[in-house]
């Protein structure tokens, strides 16, 4: 799939495509909780293009900065450039608990059919074959924001029946489980549960 994509699209690469498609989904004035990498590209692009009044929030404390230069991580000093506030991490999560965060914008390593994301371990938690960097803010963001956007490379080993570990709960184990757990769901405001910008890369190995 990816090979065909490369052949057809010499004029932009896959990261550029993912960032642009994701940026189009961002509405002006939205409060966005943003993770590192492609989500930042998308938010910054939206801020330059059609959504100058978005409020990007970063888990390390930057609230509503301008992003003339791309931050390299959620703790980068560029996440506080001309920010309206800098605070600490619990306060960022508290703001999400208050229900003012429209979107969580996350990456991850695995996602399953109920939109649970794993960014913590591959294999068993006690004896993982790979330990990723999660959760970071991924659990609180995905649990508490009204709508979650996820950007993950579309590969069979990532889009699986059941994730090895639930870092970010989606619909957990089926209809009603999210509500039962007391988490705000996209259903409450009639949004689609996932805006799936995933994509299109096939590696030779694995």
């Amino acid at each position: 799939m990816w090979e065909r994509f490369v052949m057809r699209n010499r004029d932009y690469n896959i990261i550029e495509l993912m960032a642009i498609i994701a940026a189009r989904e961002i509405e002006d004035r939205a409060v966005l909780y943003i993770g590192t990498g492609i989500p930042m590209l998308a938010a910054s692009l939206a801020q330059h293009m059609h959504a100058p009044n978005i409020i990007p929030v970063f888990e390390a404390g930057g609230v509503a900065p301008q992003m003339p230069t791309l931050p390299t991580s959620v703790g980068c000093s560029r996440t506080t450039y001309r920010a309206i506030r800098t605070c600490d991490m619990p306060e960022i999560f508290e703001m999400a608990q208050l229900g003012i965060a429209h979107y969580a914008f996350l990456g991850g390593a695995q996602v399953d059919k109920y939109r649970n994301i794993n960014s913590t371990v591959k294999g068993q938690y006690e004896a993982p074959s790979v330990r990723w960097a999660g959760s970071g803010g991924a659990n609180a963001f995905g649990s508490l924001c009204w709508r979650t956007m996820i950007i993950i490379n579309h590969e069979k080993r990532r889009f699986i029946e059941k994730v090895d570990f639930i870092t970010t709960p989606g619909y957990i184990d089926g209809p009603g489980a999210r509500e039962k757990a007391g988490l705000p769901g996209p259903d409450l405001i009639g949004f689609l549960p996932i805006r799936h910008c995933s994509i299109l890369k096939k590696r030779r190995r694995g």
């Binding site: 799939m1 990816w2 090979e3 065909r4 994509f5 490369v6 057809r8 699209n9 004029d11 932009y12 690469n13 896959i14 990261i15 550029e16 495509l17 960032a19 642009i20 498609i21 940026a23 990498g37 492609i38 930042m40 590209l41 910054s44 692009l45 330059h48 293009m49 003339p68 791309l70 390299t72 996602v111 399953d112 059919k113 109920y114 939109r115 579309h154 590969e155 069979k156 080993r157 889009f159 699986i160 029946e161 689609l192 549960p193 996932i194 799936h196 910008c197 994509i199 299109l200 890369k201 096939k202 590696r203 030779r204």
Partner: protein
């Protein structure tokens, strides 16, 4: 999880083949429009001029070629 749109250059079969579970598929599947020149220009010249993140996509291209 429900598929609601296809990115430019990707077919439905590609998506199904690369998904490890049975995907729900919306009846009137959207074909998402490709990036415009303006979007690419802003992304490359203003958002990430040093290609800190964008260069990861170049690597993916090279791996496959």
């Amino acid at each position: 999880m429900r598929l609601i749109g296809l990115l430019p250059g990707i077919r439905l079969d590609d998506i199904i083949e690369n998904t490890g579970f049975e995907l729900l598929i919306k009846e009137d599947l959207k074909q998402l429009p490709p990036p415009t020149d303006e979007e690419l220009k802003v992304l490359r010249e203003k958002v990430d001029p040093f290609r800190i993140v964008l260069s990861r996509g170049d690597k993916m291209n090279n791996e496959e070629n």
